[in-house]
Amino acid sequence: MRNENRFWFDLGPMDSIPKRGARTVRTPRREIAVFRTASDEFFALENRCPHKGGPLSEGIVHGRKVACPLHNWIIDLENGEATGADQGCARNFPIKLKNGRIYLDMGVAAPA
């Protein structure tokens, strides 16, 4: 199915995102936030906090979490779930690292 036929889009070298930081990828349907942790793990979430739509890419990245810049909801980067007492989920997307470059699944460009 779709899983076997992923088309990986090359986002560029890993160093184009700072450690404990994020950059955005613009697609026709939505904006994606691509995160890099202190230990060089990469994650991709829709760039919308489940709370009030805040841009998660602007948040402070700590461990495998990001704090939304608008109201400080803490979102788990692995699955997009809000942590603690908050409820909600930002959609996550497959991402991988190969030969020092970041690849995002082209499924992001498909209709939701």
């Binding site: 889009f9 990828v25 697609t27 805040g54 400080n72 082209m106 460009a109």
Partner: protein
């Protein structure tokens, strides 16, 4: 009719006698104190941290002006007494004034020993006794250069560490083969020497000073073996001797010190002596604990109490060099009749040695881990038979009696006379009594009442444990809040350790201070980033990933993810050209909302992130720079028109506002800082609800601080008055710097003032001129790197990836 008590000397002994006396009998005497130093009573043993820059003079004051007033003590500072007329019962000052007494206390302290070598009186040779000496050392250290400290005892090592911390290259010359040989055995002396050398201080032992050389001022120290050590400053710290001159000239019996009996009486029944100047049962003391014991006895005498006399003191020693833990007490000479228990852990630099005689502790030397010092010392003083616990004695108190005691139980188990605070000589019983008798519930109250933990702070956790043990469930851990869940230390403790351990990066802080998370959290990271910027303006590299988005992109994020842009309008002044430029930017970038802010400038709302650099470039071209409206830093200086236009204006408030904004702009602070300058007391600029407000009056400028008008509304407090614009600028910058250096991150200025006390800030800024100038200097130095326009840098391309997407995925053609 009240009797007249005259005190000669205003040092720690004299101050302590009066404290104890007023506790027992507040209205019995009219008290006059003559002090040779031109200042209030302060904690002399804390001069080392002042020298090292860890504390200011205001921090070590024991009795402030208010204390003298409240207790109706006439303080005649800077008036040394030169003679006592015992027949007439009067004392005479150097200026010839005379003062009668019924009872007289001689508390003339001690004098540093000057070794009688050629050149000892050259300029640049100082001792380490009072604040003037510290000032002289700081002045010398300001120029860098080389210092030689003669004397490797307590005082000499503290001086050396302080001067090294101030950037001098320091050598310690010590007569004996090991450092602090009177308090330490050779093993601990060796470990100490290594620790001192690791701070970049050269240690020369077994070295005898032959002469101090130099033409007009000191140039070096010549040793017996022919070596010369170059020096721009020489500190003599070889010891002290009792200052008996006045007593001797007045015909009182003196030997090494002024001879006193067990009730501190001299050979004249109306004259007492106390402190370092006395000799009691053949012993003279140069440490603080005996002096407190003596003060208690003397106060009892003066109050007419019957009580046990003073029976001499067994002393213990602690070195006040941050990062070196060292304790010693009693007798530790090797001898046939002594047994020793020794523990060494070389990798952790720990050495403990307890000396026993007939199963009693007679001495203890602890290096590296001194937590049990008080326990051994207590057993030493009481002569406890340690035979039942000899097997585990060396492991410390928590290993006695089966399972280790938790800290609360350990403190609860201490006897009432166990010393808790060594700096201020406060024992457990006094603290417990203050808590139960005075209904105290917080550490601050205990500190204010007993002085316990008020000086070096090392015993803070012990005092807190004592509160827990005494109050039980009624104790609510009030102000000791860890910074966040990543660490157990408070903001203040983290700040202090960043300075003293010279931690200059986030990883260094997290490693050394035992962070529990790998890279912090959104609450500690911005705080640490600020503390590091403030502590090391030149060495620390700002970590943008630890800044909140607004400070990272130099604009304010809005609810829809767009940003707002606020250029500076200095003092709220603008020009037609600037307004035109703002209008052009708003048109060109289709900025939906343009609003005048409460801080007298213009806000452009709804700017797209990727447009920010171009918006800034265009604003820059018209001379407009970032207004830092997004920063924990200087926001605005609001002004009214003042004497330029207003018929009531007394001074040029607009002009001063502009100067102030130019001086302060760009500085990072714990929370936002808003200022205002009003041209007259009608206060149109609303200066009395700002962090710092200046109100111009005919005679100059009233400086107000600690106002707020947000979530919390608070009118300012008057800090003081200055006469000139220059003074206003210097005072305001000094307040801001003190706030920058001390406040917890996110505490507004008023919150910090509420916590630390207005009086302390006032003393530090208005009274302590040297301290204020030093604060101002540090502010100016940090501004040299901070006062930049972040917009211009980014318009020129810096951090461009911050403003552009990583990738744009175009619609894919149907396959």
């Amino acid at each position: 009719m009240r009797k007249k008590l005259v005190v000669v000397g205003n040092g720690m002994a004299a101050g302590r006698v009066l404290d104890e006396l007023f506790d027992k009998s507040p209205d019995q005497y009219d008290v006059t104190v003559f002090g040779a130093e031109p200042r209030v009573n302060y904690n002399r043993i804390m001069l080392s941290p002042v020298l090292a820059g860890e504390k200011s003079f205001a921090d070590i004051v024991i009795h402030d002006e208010a204390w003298y007033e409240a207790n109706k003590v006439a303080l005649r500072r800077g008036e040394p007494i030169v003679a006592i007329d015992r027949a007439a019962r009067t004392v005479r000052t150097a200026d010839g004034a005379s003062e009668p007494y019924d009872k007289l206390i001689v508390a003339t302290g001690s004098m540093p020993i000057i070794i009688p070598v050629p050149g000892a009186n050259l300029a640049g040779v100082v001792t380490f006794r009072d604040l003037d000496d510290v000032d002289a050392m700081l002045a010398a250290a300001a120029g860098g250069g080389r210092a030689v400290v003669i004397g490797g005892g307590l005082l000499g090592l503290e001086a050396a560490a302080g001067l090294a911390a101030k950037g001098m290259s320091v050598s310690v010359v010590h007569l004996m083969p090991t450092l602090m040989e009177r308090q330490l055995d050779p093993n601990a002396g060796y470990l100490l020497q290594r620790a001192i050398e690791q701070r970049g201080i050269e240690v020369v032992t077994a070295a005898n000073t032959k002469a101090i050389v130099g033409a007009a001022r000191v140039e070096g120290v010549l040793l017996d073996d022919g070596r010369t050590l170059a020096a721009d400053l020489v500190v003599m710290a070889v010891g002290i001797r009792p200052n008996t001159t006045l007593a001797k000239n007045s015909g009182l019996e003196t030997k090494r010190g002024v001879v006193v009996d067990d009730f501190m009486r001299t050979s004249d029944p109306d004259i007492y002596a106390v402190g370092e100047c006395v000799e009691h049962r053949g012993a003279c003391y140069g440490l603080v604990a005996p002096l407190y014991d003596m003060a208690k006895v003397l106060a009892g005498q003066l109050a007419g109490e019957e009580g046990a006399g003073y029976a001499g003191s067994i002393t213990s020693t602690k070195l006040k060099v941050t990062g070196i833990d060292l304790f010693s007490a009693g007798d530790f000479a090797e001898g046939d009749e002594n047994d020793e228990v020794v523990l060494r852990d070389p990798a952790r630099q720990i050495y403990k040695r307890v000396v026993l005689r007939d199963n009693k502790v007679v001495g203890a030397v602890l290096y590296g881990d001194t937590a049990d010092g008080a326990w051994y010392f207590d057993m030493l003083k009481k002569g406890v038979d340690v035979a039942p616990m000899r097997d585990t004695l060396i492991f410390g108190q928590s290993y006695q009696g089966g399972s280790p005691l938790d800290p609360t139980a350990a403190v609860a188990a201490l006897p009432d006379d166990a010393e808790i605070c060594g700096c201020n000589g406060v024992c457990k019983g006094m603290i417990v009594q203050a808590i139960t008798g005075g209904g105290l519930t917080t550490i601050d109250e205990v500190r204010a009442r007993t002085k316990a933990s008020a000086s070096c702070g090392q015993c803070t956790s012990k005092v807190e444990t004592l509160l827990v043990a005494t109050l039980g469930d009624k104790y609510v851990a009030g102000d000791r809040k860890p910074m966040c869940k990543c660490v157990d230390l408070t903001h203040e403790e983290v700040r202090a350790q960043i300075k003293t351990k010279e931690l200059k990066s986030l990883p260094a802080v997290m490693q050394e201070l035992a962070w529990k998370t790998s890279c912090g959290c959104p609450s500690c990271r911005p705080a640490l980033n600020y503390y590091l910027i403030c502590a090391w303006p030149y060495d620390y590299k700002d970590d943008y990933q630890s800044r909140f988005i607004n400070e990272r992109v130099h604009a304010n994020i809005q609810k829809d993810g767009t940003f707002s842009v606020v250029p500076r309008m200095w003092g709220g002044l603008t020009t037609p050209d600037e307004l035109r430029a703002i209008a052009d930017v708003a048109d060109r970038f289709r900025i939906p909302t343009v609003k005048v802010t409460g801080g007298q400038r213009v806000d452009l709302l709804g700017v797209k992130k990727e447009d920010l650099p171009a918006v800034w470039a265009q604003l820059n071209a018209a001379g407009l720079v970032s207004g830092f409206a997004y920063a924990k830093g200087l926001r605005t200086v609001k002004t009214c028109v003042g004497s330029d236009w207003c018929r009531f204006g007394t001074q040029d408030s607009m002009g001063l506002g502009v100067k102030m904004e130019r001086l302060l702009c760009g500085s990072w602070t714990p929370a936002k800082v808003k200022l205002a300058v009003s041209g007259c007391p009608r206060n149109c600029a609303e200066a009395t609800v700002k962090d710092v407000g200046v109100i111009c009056v005919d005679s100059g400028y009233d400086l107000h601080i600690a106002g707020a008008a947000g979530l919390h509304v608070r009118a300012t407090d008057l800090l003081g008055h200055v006469d000139t614009e220059e003074a206003a600028l210097e005072h305001v910058a000094a307040v801001i710097q003190m706030y920058r250096e001390e406040a917890a991150y996110l505490d507004r200025l008023y919150k910090w003032v509420d916590k630390t006390g207005l009086e302390r800030v006032r003393t530090a800024i208005m009274d302590d001129h040297d301290n204020r100038k030093a604060l101002y200097e540090r502010f100016v130095i940090s501004q040299r790197v901070a006062r930049r326009d972040p917009w211009a840098e980014r318009a020129a391309g810096r951090d461009s990836r911050e403003f552009t997407p990583l990738a744009v995925l175009m619609p894919v053609a149907a396959e």
